[in-house]
Structure formats: structure tokens, C-alpha cells
């Protein structure tokens, strides 16, 4: 268990800069998720921490020790790859014990550690099988087992659930989280799926184009996104955002007035952001919308509605009687409205 610290870390591939000065401190025992769209640099950052990529500038420290020039095997880390990277010619038990075998540990010590880890992950019956005989979820567990056996200071996960089907992903998410609660090892987890980030992280770093857009606890990012990118990246279905002008305490947009507790300068061009669950349907609502699509999800109903020429998503609790073509009235929750500066995208 250890802390991890990135100090102004930069990375360029040739002349192309990929990371523009990342500074990030990860606490001992924390589950930190790096999330962002493809190409934002999150995997590169993780691989630099693992020692698989060279650092162009800046420092990376594990447990306050700078590891820039330290080889992967001496950093006391373990990594779970997206494609599991299991050794196809070794059994599950041999895969898991490989790192100990490389250190020339005693055979019975290796067997003991492997058995212990297999127990935690329910891999006991599979120790003599080969990776090709296992399902995706089982292989993922073997990959995790291989990491756990090493008892490292830091766990690194590189999009481990991307290759699994949806149902398995949900199950594995819970398993990984439970594992973290049990082992309490510092974990750095990379994913492009914001649901994984929200459900698993102690803190999230949202990345975009080589920069950290916002760092904070999941609900903090959800309730107070620092900029437009974070606001639209976190939350599913995504936040509704459209252009407007702040005038007289409310926002003029889409041909009508929208309430907002957040304030801006008079006449300022803003982006109005409101999450689907904060767009209430109410007979007293001031905004008229036309229903386009009704998606009953069971516990909730998602409606796609049109106001002027903009498509908005509304999430209503329970069932709805609305049908496509109906006119409904919307009453946005003014306290939950987000205003962003139209030019910079920053929260106001």
C-alpha cells in the first residue's frame, strides 16, 4: 500500500504532445479512476506509472520515491490488462505464481500464496486448467489473481472490463470493488465507461486531450461539474445542454425563459445545463415541449422531447401516460441547473 504522485508529467510521442503536464496525488489505499474518451491519454499515464512508457518530463513517485528511472519489476506494482495477457502455455496456477517463480521463491511458498489467492477469487477448481479453457470472466479473475499474488504497493487496471459482456461487467464491477475493500491496496483504474467510474471510485480524474478536466469524488463531479466537458461526460443519460442568454435572473433560450438559481452577468451568453431527472413534468410548468419518443424503463420513463428545434431528454419516475405527439409542460428544478460560460465552458 502506498501513495502515488504525478508531478507535472508530460509525454510526447515524437513531436506530438499527448499529456500536457499532469499533476495528481493519489492517497494510500485510495481507488482512483482515470476516465475519459479514447485518446485522452489515460492509458498512457497508467503505462508510464507501470514503467511501460518513457516519461518525457516531470516525475512520478510511488510512496514518495521517484521511480522515473526504475524498471517495472522494481516498482512493486501489478497490472491487469484489457486483454488479460495470460500466458497461454501455463496453467492458471502457473500463471498466478509466475512472478514468484521469477524471484526464485520456494515452491511451497508459491503454492501457498496461489492457493490463498485462488480462494479469494473462487478459482480453486481451475488451477490446473489452461487459459484457453476458461470463459472471459474467469480469465479476468485469473489476471486479477496474478496481480494479487504479488501483494504489490499499487494495483493498475487498464480497462479490464471492456472485453466482457454487459451482464458480466456489472458482476465484475462489484467483485473488484469488494476486493478493494478487503485488500485496501492503492488502485489506479483506467476506463472509458463513466458508469464504472461513478460506481467504483473513491475519487475520479476526468481526462480529456491530455489534461485533467476535474478531480473529485464521484457525486461532487456529478453535482458540481467544473466545466461543460465534465458535465456532459458524467451521468447517463447525458445532461441536456443548450445555448442561451442570461437576462433578468433567468435564461432566455429556445424561445422561452428557463429558471436558474445560478447567476451570470446580465446579457452574458451562457450554456444552460440541466440533467434529465431535474426536468420535472408538471401542469404548472412554464415550458411547453412536444413528446417525440417514450422509452419505458420500468422503474423510470425516459422521454425525448422537443422544445423549439432542440431535442431534450427527460427522466420521469415511475410510469408516464405521455404518447408521441403529446404536448407536455416542463418545470426545471432551478436549484439543480448548471450555467456555463458559452465561450470557455467553465462553470459559472
Amino acid at each position: 500500500m502506498a501513495s502515488v504522485s504525478f508531478s507535472d508529467v508530460k509525454k510526447s510521442f515524437g513531436a506530438t504532445p499527448v499529456l500536457h503536464g499532469i499533476s495528481l496525488d493519489i492517497l494510500d489505499g485510495e481507488f482512483m479512476v482515470l476516465v475519459g474518451p479514447s485518446g485522452c491519454g489515460k492509458s498512457t499515464l497508467l503505462r508510464m506509472l507501470a514503467g511501460l512508457e518513457e516519461i518525457s518530463a516531470g516525475n512520478i513517485a510511488i510512496d514518495t520515491r521517484v521511480v522515473n528511472d526504475v524498471e517495472s519489476k522494481d516498482r512493486d506494482i501489478a497490472m491487469v490488462f484489457q486483454s488479460y495477457a495470460l500466458y497461454p502455455h501455463m496453467t492458471v496456477g502457473e500463471n498466478m505464481g509466475f512472478s514468484l517463480r521469477l524471484r526464485n521463491d520456494a515452491k511451497d511458498l508459491i503454492a501457498q500464496r496461489v492457493a490463498q489467492t485462488a480462494k479469494i477469487l473462487n478459482l480453486g477448481p481451475y488451477l490446473e486448467r489452461y487459459p484457453r479453457e476458461l470463459s472471459g470472466g474467469q480469465r479476468q479473475r485469473v489476471a486479477m489473481g496474478r496481480a494479487i499474488v504479488r501483494d504489490p504497493k499499487v494495483f493498475l487496471f487498464d480497462e479490464p472490463l471492456s472485453n466482457l459482456d454487459a451482464k458480466l461487467r456489472v458482476a465484475m464491477r462489484a467483485e473488484i470493488k469488494a476486493l478493494h475493500q478487503r485488500l485496501k491496496t492503492t488502485t489506479v483504474y483506467v476506463t472509458h465507461d463513466q458508469v464504472e467510474a461513478m460506481t467504483m471510485a473513491d475519487r475520479i480524474a476526468v481526462m480529456n486531450e491530455g489534461r485533467i478536466e476535474q478531480l473529485g469524488e464521484p457525486l461532487e463531479l456529478y453535482d458540481r461539474p467544473a466545466n461543460l466537458f465534465v458535465a456532459q461526460f458524467i451521468g447517463s443519460p447525458a445532461m441536456n445542454v443548450f445555448d442561451g442568454i442570461f437576462r433578468g435572473g433567468a435564461v432566455e433560450a429556445l424561445g422561452t425563459r428557463w429558471p436558474s438559481n445560478a447567476k451570470a452577468a446580465e446579457g452574458q451568453k451562457v450554456k444552460y445545463g440541466v440533467r434529465p431527472e431535474h426536468l420535472g413534468i408538471s401542469a404548472q410548468g412554464a415550458i411547453t415541449a412536444e413528446v417525440v419518443v417514450v422509452e419505458p424503463m420500468g422503474a423510470e420513463t425516459e422521454l425525448v422531447v422537443k422544445v423549439a428545434d432542440a431535442s431534450l431528454v427527460v427522466t420521469a419516475h415511475g410510469r408516464s401516460n405521455a404518447k408521441p405527439g403529446d404536448a407536455i409542460k416542463l418545470a426545471p428544478d432551478a436549484a439543480s441547473v448548471h450555467l456555463f460560460d458559452a465561450a470557455s465552458g467553465l462553470r459559472l
Binding site: L52, A85, F98, S99, R150
Partner: protein, 279 residues
């Protein structure tokens, strides 16, 4: 329905000339081996009195050209195995360095190796002969071994590199994080995964050396150092040589490659065509 039978008949019809064409010269060797001298020269298609006497002559080395049969077949065997083993060692190390370690200059070495492969061996033979003379290795078994390793390595490296490139890169990364040194990665991860290709290449190099005539003829001269192939060539020095003995010895000489080919045919076919000329 009738078309299907016609199709089958047509295929069978094609198979007959294919088999005749392929097997006739080989059958002819067999024919001579079991014939006595008179029966062989009568031009018969099957001997009146098939005999195994020729093989007995070979076994007991009872002819001028066969005096050193056992030494010579031992030389062929020794050289073939040495070439196979050495080629495997040199090529697997080089392919690992080029493909997994991404050594600087690896591309250049690969290109140089390919260049050597494409130059016909017959043109390299005479310069090799002169060079081996300068090295003082003429009439030494090692000259043939080293020459054949030089000829077999390029293709071996190419095939091994192609097969190695197919291994996922994450395996090396996982091994590095697990704590593997370069040698451990080579020994514990790379070599086990390359085994099928290595069998194909080892067999290829071994057969290349066993079947080789020209280089043996140039580099080795003493009766006790030459390979069986070169010894067979000596038979044609005189006009009244015992051709049936030559064919019988030739049959013995041809058996190991045929047997190895048969045993490994599946490996060799897939291992060789995977590294073959790509479209």
C-alpha cells in the same frame, strides 16, 4: 446425381498421372535396390528374383565405393543434426532480439538476412569454398556445418520472426511487470510459445544439410570426412560402377528425410507456408 459421379471419376482420373509422375523415379530407385546386377540392367519393371543382397553389401561395406559407408552416413547424420541445432539456436536468438526486444538495427539485419536467402546458394558456393580455404577449415566437418547454418539461418529467422510478431505484445509487458529479466522472458515465455515453428525450422535446417551435395563436394574431400551424398556422387566417376548398389545406397540415404517428412508433415506444411511468400 450423375454429375457428381462424373466429377469423382474425373478427379480419380487426374490422380493416376499425378501419382505416376511423382513416384516413378522413386519406384525406380526401389526397383534397382532389390535387383541383382543383371536384372537391373535388363530394363525390367520388376526383378525376376527380388533380392536384399545389395543391402547386405552396403551393411558390410563390401565394395570399393562403400568401404567407408558407415563413417560417411555418420558424417551426414552428425552434420545434419549440428546444422539443425545450431540454426535453431542462432535463429531463435536473432528472431527474439528483432521481434520482441526490438533491437536497434534489427530491421537492417533482417533485410541483410533476406538478401542472403534470395541469392542462390550455388553462386555463393565458390566464394565460400575459397573463404573456408583461407580460414583453414577445408576438409573439416565444421566448414560444412557453418556453411549450411549460414544458408539456413535467414529463412529460419524470417519464419520465426513472422510467428513471433503474432504473439500479443501484452505478454511481454505482463512478464516485465511480473519481474522477468530478458533471459527469463526468452526462456520461460517466448521459447515455449514458439515451439511449433521451431520444430518446423529445425526440421527444415536438418533436411537442408542432409540433402546437400554441392557444398559437401566442394568443402570436404577425404573419404572419411565426406558425407554420404558426396560419396554417392563418386559412384559416377567410373562407367562400370555397380549402379544397383548406388541406388540401394541412395535408398538408404533417402529414407531418413522421407521418414521425417512423413512424421512431421503437418508441422512442416503449416510452419513453412506461414512464412512463405506473402500475397
Amino acid at each position: 446425381m450423375k454429375k457428381k459421379y462424373l466429377n469423382e471419376a474425373f478427379l480419380l482420373l487426374m490422380a493416376v498421372p499425378i501419382l505416376l509422375w511423382s513416384l516413378l523415379p522413386i519406384y525406380h530407385i526401389f526397383l534397382f535396390s532389390i535387383s541383382s546386377k543383371d536384372s537391373a540392367f535388363s530394363g525390367a519393371l520388376w526383378p525376376d528374383l527380388p533380392t536384399l543382397r545389395n543391402f547386405s553389401y552396403i551393411w558390410k561395406q563390401q565394395h570399393f565405393y562403400l568401404y567407408h559407408f558407415w563413417v560417411q552416413i555418420w558424417n551426414s547424420l552428425w552434420i545434419a543434426v549440428a546444422v539443425g541445432a545450431l540454426t535453431l539456436a542462432v535463429a531463435s536468438c536473432a528472431a527474439f532480439a528483432i521481434s520482441r526486444l526490438k533491437v536497434r538495427g534489427g530491421r537492417t539485419v533482417m533485410n541483410l538476412a533476406l538478401f542472403t536467402y534470395f541469392i542462390p546458394a550455388a553462386f555463393l558456393a565458390i566464394p565460400m569454398y575459397k573463404a573456408m580455404g583461407n580460414y583453414g577449415l577445408l576438409n573439416n566437418r565444421w566448414s560444412l556445418v557453418l556453411a549450411m547454418v549460414t544458408l539456413a539461418s535467414p529463412y529460419a529467422i524470417w519464419v520465426l520472426k513472422q510467428a513471433s510478431d503474432k504473439l500479443p505484445w501484452e505478454l511481454d509487458e505482463a512478464a516485465r511487470i511480473d519481474g522477468a529479466t530478458p533471459l527469463q522472458l526468452f526462456r520461460l515465455v517466448y521459447l515455449p510459445l514458439m515451439t511449433p515453428s521451431m520444430v518446423a525450422i529445425g526440421t527444415y535446417a536438418l533436411l537442408l544439410a542432409w540433402n546437400e551435395y554441392l557444398y559437401g563436394y566442394l568443402l570436404l574431400s577425404h573419404e572419411r570426412t565426406i558425407t554420404l551424398a558426396v560419396a554417392l556422387g563418386h559412384f559416377t566417376a567410373a562407367d562400370d560402377s555397380p549402379w544397383e548398389l548406388l541406388m540401394a545406397t541412395g535408398l538408404v540415404y533417402a529414407l531418413p528425410p522421407a521418414a521425417i517428412y512423413y512424421a512431421f508433415r503437418r508441422y512442416m506444411v503449416s510452419g513453412l507456408t506461414s512464412g512463405a511468400v506473402k500475397s
